[in-house]
């Protein structure tokens, strides 16, 4: 049995301001760096020092992951493009208030949990497939190498979509609630197609 611990990255200045990031590579703020340290202690406290750590390549996730990797003394976390965030296209950098004002129709669609028809938006199905493939792959690799727990630092949308795809839940609207920064889910693989969400929204 393999545990995948899916952690949402710590807070950035954009998160605090309510600005959509998507593919924008915004760094952790001061409080985000502190939050990353706290998350690292909690995750390692919970799962021990024998974990493998992988991460989205975007720095807000990578630096959160590196805080964990440092604590378990394995150098830097392994960057993995499959865990990067959904691109938010032309909405990136805007606040939700700005989005509602400039794209009222698409904002309404998004508010209902659907994919908006805007340039550059990452389709939910595509993101879900990408993340799920990464999760399956990491679990299989862990099984091959005798690793019990893989910590993966990623992003809210990416995590929700990947988990939903693995569990067979509808993607839009989501049946999984938002994951706060620094919180995580525990998704366990029992071999074959047997995946179980054992814990959701831990460490809030």
């Amino acid at each position: 049995m393999i545990s995948l611990v899916l952690v949402r990255h710590a807070r950035t200045g954009y998160n605090t301001e309510g600005r959509l990031q998507g593919s924008l590579d915004v760094p952790l703020g001061e409080d985000g760096l502190e939050q990353a340290q706290r998350v690292a202690k909690r995750v390692v406290g919970e799962y021990g020092a024998g974990v493998v750590v992988a991460t989205s390549p975007l720095v807000r996730a990578a630096h959160t992951a590196d805080a964990i990797a440092e604590l378990v003394r394995i150098g830097a976390a392994e960057r993995d493009d499959r865990f990067t965030q959904r691109p938010y296209g032309v909405w990136e950098g805007h606040t939700w208030a700005q989005v509602r004002e400039q794209w009222p129709e698409e904002y309404r669609r998004r508010h209902e949990g659907l994919d908006p028809a805007i340039p550059g938006w990452g389709d939910s199905g595509e993101v879900a497939d990408r993340v799920a493939a990464g999760l399956r792959d990491r679990a299989a690799e862990a099984a091959r190498t005798g690793v019990k727990t893989v910590v993966i630092v990623s992003h809210g949308s990416a995590i929700m979509l990947g988990v939903a795809r693995i569990l067979g839940l509808p993607l839009t609207p989501s049946r999984l609630g938002n994951l706060p920064h620094g919180a995580w889910n525990d998704l366990r693989w029992h071999g074959g197609d047997d995946w179980r969400l054992e814990r959701y929204r831990v460490g809030r």
Binding site: G168, L169, R175, G177, D186, L197, R201
Partner: protein
């Protein structure tokens, strides 16, 4: 918006021995009572309610009473929240199920209905649990139900649109809870899983 908090009862001696209880009325043990007492203030902060609806089996009812005492809530019981009946499997340890009822145990672990005398199937459990939710948790606001592992899991599958026998959503630990939200009206809305087994061993006894 409706908030639904589903709490599983604290530990019993049969839980500790991995013996299926089902309809058997096995009481909380000391650990179970301690777990309920540790969970109570967390739930009082997360979801203060004035009424808790519980399965009438004593392990659930007593867990509910301990939580209710902390919040100053009343407890109302409903047999529709009881654990699934396991028929002749009740009282059986897991090792015995594996060794003497291997084929049926394997079916059960995969979410299929085992062919066991007196076993209550997924559809029956879902129907009564959903009826309890419809009656007790139809209004906007927060609702807390105390019940059992299998019943809660099957209920969550029903609420989230998964196959009733699915093992995709984990079973709650003793004195752990799940939180679901429902937005929109019954026709167009849907349930969302917010939290599951979020509190770990490091916090509860």
């Amino acid at each position: 918006m409706r908030r639904l908090i589903l709490v599983r009862h604290g530990e019993t001696d049969w839980n500790a021995a991995h013996r299926l209880q089902g309809a058997a009325d096995i009481p909380l043990n000391d650990t179970g009572r301690a777990q309920a007492r540790a969970t109570a203030p967390l739930l009082a902060q997360l979801a203060p309610v004035t009424r808790i609806v519980s399965s009438d089996l004593s392990r659930a009812r007593d867990t509910a009473r301990i939580i209710a005492d902390t919040m100053g809530a009343e407890v109302v019981t409903d047999p529709r929240l009881r654990e699934r009946c396991y028929g002749v499997w009740e009282g059986m340890e897991e090792s015995v199920r594996r060794s003497e009822h291997g084929e049926e145990h394997t079916r059960w672990e995969r979410g299929l209905e085992p062919r066991v005398e007196g076993y209550e199937g997924h559809a029956a459990v879902a129907e009564r649990a959903l009826a309890a939710v419809a009656e007790h948790a139809h209004a906007d606001g927060t609702h807390m139900l105390v019940a059992h592992g299998s019943t809660i899991r099957v209920l969550m599958c029903a609420l989230l649109g998964l196959e009733l026998g699915s093992r995709s959503i984990g079973t709650l630990g003793n004195a752990r809870w799940a939180e679901l939200h429902h937005t929109g009206d019954d026709a167009s809305g849907h349930w969302v899983l917010r939290e599951l087994n979020a509190v770990g061993d490091t916090v509860l006894a």
